[in-house]
Amino acid sequence: MIDLNHVTKTFGAKTAVNGLTLRVAAGELFAFLGPNGAGKTTTIKLMCGLLFPTAGTIRIGGFELGREGDRARGIISYVPDQPFLYEKLTGREFLQFIADMYGLAPEHGRRRIREMIDVFSLGDFVDDLTEQYSHGMRQRTVFAAAFLHEPKVLIVDEPTVGLDPKSVRLLKDLLRAEARRGTTVFLSTHSLDVAQELADRIGIVENGQLISCGTLDSLRKQAAVNGSLEDVFLKLTDEAALSNGRSHE
């Protein structure tokens, strides 16, 4: 469903993503981890077609982003780490805008909006302007919009920041349920416990390169550590940093 083939992205003299090749199957929940500045958000923006690869190709659902970007984006939902909401729209108006943008039939759109309001408990504030929302309310509204059109690929960047424990639990259950339903979930996060609990496979990126990719067990083997994902992550990223340091010398 997600197919990155030798993707490189440079920012002037800096290479943010370096020859990344990655395939994520339909119905898979893939966790994408890495230290700050490793290239996670750049990779996500490339997958949404917001940025163009300097080299390599990206396919989403079989659509090559360079040629069929609009069709690819039609099956994607992207929830960025700092999501955008129209401040002068109510939550319901925003959801209606999203339903119309993704071409949902009017009756189907209204039904899905009702469902999302129930699922994310938006009822108390959905008819207020979003400028009055707290961070958690905004996050829940954004997720409702992301699930609204039943995307085939769901890309989420730091989804649990600002959510209360109950909402985090709800979101984790929803992400797992979506994956079971056949949706590909691409999850970028620093919350290693969330990744460990949910992910089918985990990819670790450091300095723009995929240094490790597989199930938690295979990562443990690679790191020669029999501990938590946190231990594995720290071991692998430290080794990669050291290796990079040596290669610069």
Binding site: K9, G12, A16, C48, E87, T90, I98, M101, L129
Partner: protein
């Protein structure tokens, strides 16, 4: 595709209606004051224009048609320039530096539909101030010359068709610059502006009447009209607009629709070309602008920061730090300093074109006229500068207020810091310009002193008004200073600042110059000397009020503000 077009229109309407509803439900007093001020300025321009047009009509002034035509040519030329530059800059921020477009580009929205949606917004933002200031002139003209009713109805069609053309050109230029400008953006941009300013300067230099001492006579008008070749050329869209409006006023249906068709067909063609280009270049440009620089770029101290620190060395250290912070943010924002360059270019243009006056032996009356005109132009530029750059300063603090709000000093200090920053720059630039031109014209010492005092009152007053009103009607939601400046609060500020400068010049400079001019042009008429001094005194009192009152209101609003 059509569905998206409809969707974006509905989105705009929803946002607009919710915003209006909120404004009506919010502070009634503020809304009423804003509406009253808008009505006042509209009525003022309408009244002055109607009086002028009636005078031309009643007195059977020769070449009335040419004078009106020239006024219209320049009116629409001003709108073209406004749409070209302001529209282009606003569009740049909207398309390439806003969270909304990042969001929209991650949805299935077509690039050209997003572009069209933002284009309409930029054109509306750029031209609504013109609607407020230009519509009373056109309506007054229609009423004074008793034109057919169709004139008023067709004004809307003319206006809508006309804004497409410069708006599309500005947008096209914006797309080209973002996509193809070489990496040395700063240097190329400065060079482009210098070339543009030099070109316009040369043109204005050529149209300058050779001898103002002839005063206003038939030859002068004919020469001036004849020299406005560029603004009145058959290929100039503002000329089509001016002729179309005139033909409509005369009731010449065929000619009216000829010009209307000319404007609409060209406007639509350029819009189509720009929309076609946007489908191919918008996403490409977005990618280029996001990844164009180097992530490793180092920012640090700059000699300009040290210069500013030195200039405001008379202030306490905390206020000084705030000022340097504002300046540093300003100079790192190309959209901001590019507009300062345009402003500076305009000033250089104007004073360069005053060269011939400085070289000629002008009659004292003409010298006084030119000197007063220089003062008025400098005041207008100051007004534009404070409205565009100073008014948005407090709004731009926006959500960063949690930093400033927690700092261990009184919030008012923020206002005083911005006031000192604005007043220092305004004073330095304006005093230099006015004193330079007065010395070159050979004005008397007392007139030079009076001008220096008037500029002081203007610079301090305009800074006080823009800073105070900026705190009273801030717009914390908007991050684009251009939009803040042309928004509701920004326009209110502009209107009040224009009224202020009219009053100050009317009180302080006009009686002074009139007393010197009148004995020459009307032998037996003059005004008492006491009026001069009374005017100066009243101007100073009025100026003090313009500093104290807005800053007090702004400080009070800032103290009560919750974040």
């Amino acid at each position: 595709m059509n569905n998206q077009l409809f969707l974006f229109q509905r989105l705009r309407w929803k946002i607009l209606s919710n915003t209006l509803l909120l404004a009506v439900q919010g502070s009634k007093l503020r809304l009423v004051i804003i509406l009253l001020c808008s009505l006042l300025i509209w009525g003022g321009i309408f009244g002055a224009s109607a009086k002028g047009f009636h005078f031309l009509n009643d007195q059977k002034i020769p070449l009335t048609g040419n004078i009106v035509g020239t006024v219209f040519d320049f009116l629409f030329l001003a709108l073209s320039v406004l749409l070209l530059f302001s529209g282009g800059i606003i569009l740049y921020s909207s398309l390439f530096a806003s969270a909304e477009t990042s969001f929209l580009l991650s949805t299935p929205a077509a690039a050209d539909q997003v572009f069209a949606y933002k284009f309409q917004g930029a054109v509306m933002f750029s031209s609504w101030a013109f609607l407020l200031l230009g519509s009373p002139i056109l309506i007054a003209y229609g009423l004074a010359f008793e034109v057919p009713w169709s004139y008023f109805a067709l004004l809307v069609a003319f206006f809508l068709g006309f804004v497409l053309l410069p708006g599309s050109l500005g947008a096209f230029a914006c797309l080209l610059i973002v996509n193809f400008l070489p990496r040395h953006f700063k240097q190329v941009f400065v060079a482009l502006i210098v070339v543009a300013v030099a070109g316009i300067g040369l043109w204005i230099y050529n149209i300058k009447p050779s001898d103002w001492s002839d005063a206003l006579n038939r030859d002068f008008v004919q020469r001036l009209v004849g020299q406005l070749s560029l603004a009145q050329g058959p290929l100039s869209p503002n000329h089509w607009m001016a002729r179309g409006v005139e033909e409509s006023a005369r009731g010449n249906i065929n000619n009216t629709f000829y010009y209307l068709a000319l404007i609409w067909s060209n406007g639509l063609l350029f819009y189509l070309l720009t929309a076609w280009a946007s489908a191919r270049l918008y996403r490409r440009g977005f990618n280029r602008i996001t990844t164009g620089g180097t992530l490793k770029r180092r920012y640090g101290g700059h000699w300009l920061d040290r210069l500013v620190t030195g200039l405001v060395g008379f202030l306490d250290s905390q206020t000084r730090l705030l000022i340097v912070k504002d300046f540093r943010m300003f100079r790192r924002d190309p959209a901001q300093w590019a507009q300062v360059l345009i402003f500076t270019g305009l000033m250089v243009l104007y004073f360069t074109n005053m060269r011939r006056f400085y070289q000629e032996e002008l009659q004292p009356a003409n010298k006084n006229g030119v000197s007063l005109m220089n003062l008025a132009v400098t005041a207008l530029l100051l007004c534009a500068y404070t409205g565009r750059f100073v008014f948005p300063m407090l709004s731009l603090e926006g959500r960063k207020f949690w930093i400033l709000g927690l700092l261990p000093f009184q919030r008012e200090r923020l206002l005083w810091g911005k006031f000192a920053f604005s007043a220092t720059w305004s004073l330095l630039i304006a005093e230099f310009l006015v004193l330079f031109s007065d010395f070159m014209l050979g004005m008397g010492n007392s007139t030079i002193a009076m001008h220096a005092l008037t500029v002081l009152v203007l610079a301090l007053g305009l800074s006080g008004l823009s800073v105070g009103l900026g705190a009273w009607v801030p717009n914390f939601r908007e991050t684009d200073p251009s939009k803040i400046a042309v928004g509701f609060g920004g326009t209110l500020n502009l209107i009040i600042c224009l009224l202020y400068l009219l009053v100050v010049i009317g009180l302080m400079a006009a009686p002074w110059h009139l007393r010197l001019i009148l004995p020459e042009v009307a032998d037996d008429r003059t005004i008492p000397e006491a009026w001069q001094w009374l005017g100066v005194g009243l101007g100073i009192v009025f100026g003090a009020g313009a500093i104290y009152m807005p800053l007090r209101i702004g400080a009070s609003a800032l103290r009560r503000m919750e974040f």
